[in-house]
């Protein structure tokens, strides 16, 4: 059984760990509820808790975004890293090799 607390903890963990970048748009409450098989109110409660903790910002009509101060990296960077990881996995590259090149590029 999934409750609003576990949804909150998972999303919070993803934000703090850097899997979601600042400004990134979270899934809709409806999508989270449908994916987890819970009532919309349960997912909405988790979102309200995230907002109360300052981890996300909800604007009417614009959806829920990760707060600037909460994330490890900006959303644009996280999206590019995700695309890099996807491309590397598609090509079957060794993770160590990819990380080595990224480290080198960061030090250039």
């Amino acid at each position: 059984v999934t409750d609003s607390q576990s949804i909150y903890e998972d999303l919070r963990g993803s934000i703090v760990a850097g899997r979601l970048g600042s400004g990134e748009r979270l899934p809709t409450v409806r999508q989270v509820a449908a994916d987890l098989g819970v009532a919309i109110g349960t997912a909405a409660k988790a979102y309200r808790q995230l907002e109360a903790d300052g981890l996300v910002v909800t604007r009417t009509g614009a959806g829920t975004h990760v707060a600037e101060s909460a994330a490890l990296l900006p959303g644009a960077i996280v999206i590019q890293i995700r695309e890099l990881a996807r491309a590397a996995n598609e090509l079957g590259l060794r993770h160590d090799d990819v990380l080595s090149v990224v480290r080198g590029a960061l030090q250039d």
């Binding site: 999934t2 576990s6 949804i7 903890e9 998972d10 999303l11 993803s14 899997r19 979601l20 748009r25 979270l26 899934p27 809709t28 999508q31 989270v32 449908a34 994916d35 987890l36 098989g37 959806g63 995700r82 990881a85 996807r86 996995n89 598609e90 090509l91 079957g92």
Partner: protein, 340 residues
């Protein structure tokens, strides 16, 4: 003589040769299905087979329409049937047929997907917002949208340029002959008209195409939305499921683009043929005067483009039917397991 020309001539004019070629292609394609669907989930395998069968259906329908006159000409007492199918040369049904075959294919997918509900074993928290385009490649969307946009534009412009024939149907384009003392004597010239006409992709042809294309767009949206909206079964299958959804999205986009391409090619060929035709009148001791439509200078290029579009669409559908797959995506950071 060029052997390729001989082969194409036999293919287009000898129904038995065409039937044998179609049989060989279908046999080769179906043999490749087993390997093409290996590694897919039962749901994705079912959808993949429907898409491939749909691609074959679209190709068979397209080739069948081209061969039908030749087949009927060889059958005794078939003239009446052909006359029934093409009243006064009005064969509007041939144009939206590839799109109709695609509509049926997508409708089958919608029904099949509804009959296979996802049973979640371990809930997976989504990290990415999913919409109907989430699993589609930009190149697939751009190709289908581009071909569809060109077909819509051509249908509207041709419809606006078309004129009515003697039965009141928008199936011709007027070839302006200017003011003449005597009307140009051209067969099919509307009574009392001083202008020649040529068969054209007018509203009578383009409106059915637009109507079926709209239905196709709605079904495409439904297939993609339903497949995108369903939850993941469990965390360790999220990556594979994402790959399956990408394969489904690529398949339906390519099927749609192929069918739209065949229709666009056929429509453009009819427009080009009107541009290539001309009407003339010979005046003794003066000379011969020829008239053609305003875009006739571009007609050869349009004719060549229509052939290239049809070849491209046919090859694309053959590759799809043959089971060409994208490299699978192994990992995606779009979801994670819910902690107990």
């Amino acid at each position: 003589m060029d052997p390729m020309r001989v082969f194409v001539g036999l293919l287009l004019n000898e129904p038995m040769v065409a039937a044998i070629v179609v049989f060989l292609v279908v046999a080769a394609v179906t043999r490749s299905w087993r390997s093409a669907t290996a590694g897919l989930s039962p749901r994705a395998r079912t959808i993949s087979r429907v898409i491939r069968a749909g691609a074959i259906a679209v190709l068979v329908v397209d080739v069948g329409v081209r061969l039908l006159p030749g087949v009927l000409a060889r059958l005794p007492h078939a003239t009446a049937l052909w006359s029934y199918l093409t009243p006064s040369g009005y064969w509007w049904w041939a144009f939206p047929l590839p799109l109709s075959a695609t509509v049926i294919t997508l409708a089958i997918i919608v029904v099949r997907v509804r009959s296979m509900p996802t049973r979640v074993e371990t809930a997976v928290v989504p990290l990415a917002r999913r919409n109907w385009l989430s699993f589609s490649r930009r190149s697939d969307v751009a190709t289908a949208a581009g071909v569809g946009g060109m077909l819509l534009l051509l249908s509207i412009l041709s419809g606006l340029a078309s004129a009515t024939d003697q039965y009141g149907r928008h199936t011709v384009i007027v070839i302006p002959t200017g003011e003449m003392d005597t009307p140009v004597d051209v067969s099919g010239l509307p009574e009392g008209s001083e202008n020649a006409t040529s068969g054209f992709y007018g509203w009578a042809f383009s409106l059915p195409v637009i109507a079926v294309a709209v239905v196709l767009a709605v079904l495409l949206y439904l297939v993609l939305r339903n497949d995108s909206a369903r939850p993941f079964v469990r965390p360790d299958e999220a990556a594979g499921d994402t790959s399956d959804r990408r394969a489904t999205a690529a398949g339906v986009w390519r099927l749609t683009a192929g069918a739209l391409g065949l229709t666009l090619g056929a429509a453009l060929a009819l427009v080009a043929s009107a541009g290539l035709s001309s009407s003339g009148v010979g005046i003794p001791e003066v000379g011969t005067f020829m008239w053609s439509v305003g875009y006739s200078a571009f007609a050869p290029a349009m004719d060549l483009t229509s052939v290239l579009i049809r070849i491209g669409a046919t090859l694309s559908l053959l590759l799809l039917a043959g089971g060409r797959r994208e490299r699978p995506v192994r990992v995606r950071a779009t979801a994670q397991a819910v902690k107990p």
